[in-house]
Amino acid sequence: MAKQTIFYGAHWCPDCDRVKKWLGEHDIEYTFKNTDDSQDIVDEMLEKTDGKHLIPTLDIDGTVVQNPSASELAELYDVSEEATENYHDIVTVGAGPSALAAAIYTTREDLDTVLIEKGVVGGLAAVTDKVDNYPGFPEGVAGLKLAEDLRAQAERFGAQIELGEVTEIKDEGQYKRVVTSDGDFLSRAVLIATGSDYKKLGIPGEEDFYGRGVHYCATCDGAFYRDKKLIVVGGGNSAAQEGLFLTKFASQVDILVRSDQMRASDVLVEKVMSHDKINVHFNTTTEEIVGEENKVVKVIGHDKKTDKDVEFETDGVFVFIGLKPNTQFLQNSDVELDDIGLIKTNRTLETAIPGVFASGDVRSGATMQIASAVGEGATAALMMREYLEAGDQELYS
């Protein structure tokens, strides 16, 4: 049976952090008693230490040690001195704006934080040509630049970014095990900030011509369509913004909008409608992408007003029809999802698993805005700090 450990310490004490990290690296659970909380806790500790006031003090199944070294700990627990777990105070799944904002806060609180990213650091913001509504940038900012700056700020305080894919989160009590393609991470709190990805149309030709005429990233692939004709599918902010970006290369951009108006912001709609390279086709659904000899040649749409099919000759199609949450890896976990797969949280942004939090686009109720994602990331960071300071006192109580 595992040894029971009572840990007397304080949150300002560097040796307490050192010992906590060592315990985490060996997957050893403990009850933390904060000596700043009450005189009773101090008296309890002093009784065990014959009046010697020194933290960290550990009571390991009745054996009391003060400020133990790694080798003393290894001997007491009968384990190897070297770490057996890749332990961090906080692991974030994803490294988009929300996770990066959280990391800026947690690292400044001296919480050892690692971010695991399977796609692009900065998330969807990084692949957005221009972000015009993020506060503090009167002229707007390139999405990639915003992402790079958020990353640099988080790294300046010590955030560590790992490239890999998280496949599972296991609740092991005090510790959470984050399983990735490159091995496991152990932490006391997890932030899921995996955001969302662009939806696919699910029409004939879309899969067949992916990357060969069908695209979901204008900043990535737009440059291949210099002086070509393009179709953009969608009527929201992304379709409008990326459609405008594509006019830098394309000779003509036709935007197919399913409803009778664009859902994009008024400023963007006005730019789109007045652009001489862009034609917007309302009430037009996208039915099929047709190719010949390995390249896209036309898109077949359906005009809902006339109830007739319409054909658009084109060299490529860019699809921006909305977002789907990146929560597939949580399907078999205890994290609760809503009907569309977004993560349900309580008021402290905590999921159904204690110590596992969610913020940004992936959270049920999110507004899908970078500024909101950043705000939620900061909130989640503060909630995780509270959880870490309070949560680990309850283990044996």
Binding site: E117, V120, D129, L163, G164, D182, G211, G213, T219, F224
Partner: protein, 86 residues
């Protein structure tokens, strides 16, 4: 498996996934050559011929026996198997 002779990463300057591939290769200690297609359009056709597509990033791993492996997009798992040593 033959040793890696060279690695080429096809990119564009505005593509956010491209630096991720370069960072992944660098973290693994792998050297690579970069072809920036919007600055060097002459190499676009080479990338299209190799990958059969018009999307970046594309990573081309050539081994000493001249076998080639292509990874389209930033995919750590596929990059790991394409650059496996020994």
């Amino acid at each position: 498996m033959a040793a890696i002779k060279n690695i080429t990463v096809f990119t564009t300057t505005t593509c956010a996934y491209c630096p991720m591939v370069k960072e992944w290769l660098s973290k693994k200690g792998l050297e690579y050559e970069e072809a920036v297609l919007d600055k060097d359009p002459a190499r676009q056709q080479e990338m299209i011929d190799k990958s059969g597509g018009m999307t970046v990033p594309v990573t081309l791993v050539t081994r000493e026996d001249d076998t080639e492996q292509i990874v389209i997009g930033f995919n750590p798992g596929q990059l790991a198997s394409a650059t496996a040593q020994g």
